[in-house]
Subunit: 288 residues, 2 copies
Amino acid sequence: METIREPAELRLILDRVRATGIVGFVPTMGALHAGHETLCRKSVAENDVSAASIFVNPLQFGLGEDYQRYPRDLAADQRLLQESGVDFLFAPDAAAVYPPGFQTRVIVGELSRPLEGAARPGHFEGVATIVLKLFEMVGPCRAYFGEKDFQQLQVIRRMVLDLNVPVEVRGVPTVREADGLAMSSRNRYLTTEERTAAPAIYQALLAARSLAERGVLDPDALLQEAHRRLEASPLIKPEYVALVDPDTLRPVVQPGRSAIMAIAARVGAARLIDNIMIRPPDSRPSAD
Amino acid sequence: METIREPAELRLILDRVRATGIVGFVPTMGALHAGHETLCRKSVAENDVSAASIFVNPLQFGLGEDYQRYPRDLAADQRLLQESGVDFLFAPDAAAVYPPGFQTRVIVGELSRPLEGAARPGHFEGVATIVLKLFEMVGPCRAYFGEKDFQQLQVIRRMVLDLNVPVEVRGVPTVREADGLAMSSRNRYLTTEERTAAPAIYQALLAARSLAERGVLDPDALLQEAHRRLEASPLIKPEYVALVDPDTLRPVVQPGRSAIMAIAARVGAARLIDNIMIRPPDSRPSAD
């Protein structure tokens, strides 16, 4: 695996690569875990050449968020990428990504506003902008994103569609610890006690899904069930629990619609998110 | 010359073309004139394959502006492009460019705010968004824009730099009628009387430049000279006369700096813009 720091150097190398093969791409902020590994292995399996990027993007962190203390461990990340079969790691400096006078933003409208967008103003503006920049720099055919960040995935899909970006976006199911906790770089912030409590988030999602599978179709009943489960863990401080349409991310108010249940919660110094698809019994995937 | 209406068809054709040659691109809103012809001939001379687009972009017109009545004459435009040697004309429908649910915008900050940005809120958001979309759809190596729309050129240059878009933007000097009026599709709105009066805009720019060449360095004196010339024509209703830094578009207040003088004025039903580079005597192009 080759590590490249300069955007201009990346372009020279990848122009050559693109002439001969399909390029898969996994953009990350580093602090890699088994979830990232799954994305990388999928890219390696499905493309001729795979590139990953590591860039902790200041633009997507709000004031008072964890940009400074976000975990960084390039050597460990390089080992994981190497073992996953990735061919190129792009790890630029912030100064090369945001040159003096930088002033352009990519803004996805409606999909950016609820959930994480409401909790983290400007977050998806930062995400959409850096992802478009990375797509332009790397020029991949396909890019891989985890479903753990479901809203991010939908925002990026919409951006790619709206701006005619010739990249195929592939979502990959969330990878979980043995006890169900969604893999996240921010799990490193958890104390032992908090780590033991944190799976309650996924258990709350499972409880709501289980209720739906048993025929409870009322959105409020499903939300209450999730809240009830979260409240049983005093270390979990829920920020939101929402049931939303997977395509529009608008709240689901009609009973019996397929929906995403999304949770954000503070657990000690970590802010964790997770989500699950909830389908009523006997529902088939449909266009609605 | 081949005319293509479907974005998907365009991609198939241009993917083939790009494999063998350098693609030049001239995005337009149609109603083509000798200014566009110059852009096209330059693209044809400098690239292996040249594409032009015709798309009257609703996103860059404000409420009450001339989107509906903007001149459209595809047959005449096709003749001009054919004669200029353009290989492909991309002329999509608005519905194909802005699919249902479209909600993404590209926003260039500081450069979009003064001058045309102040006079036409949302205009450069619409321009930056459609230009990026067209770049993604066409995938050109180089793109050509007229210097008549100087601020547009600078906004697009900044967007391309900030988003790492692999397109080289080339500005082309304004083409003028024999009496100095800058070529513009909107000149078609002028009555005979207004058409006779309209060159006063360029004359005002020339008068200011001439004053600077004779050693008058005070920005206010140059602006007053331009205003004085415009006021001599009762049919010209100036919207703004500004002296700005070519790179930042901030007002030039220090005497003796190279600057762009920009004018916007209403002439009957037309809103016309023009600009000129003003350099103090013996100034050499510099980085300031």
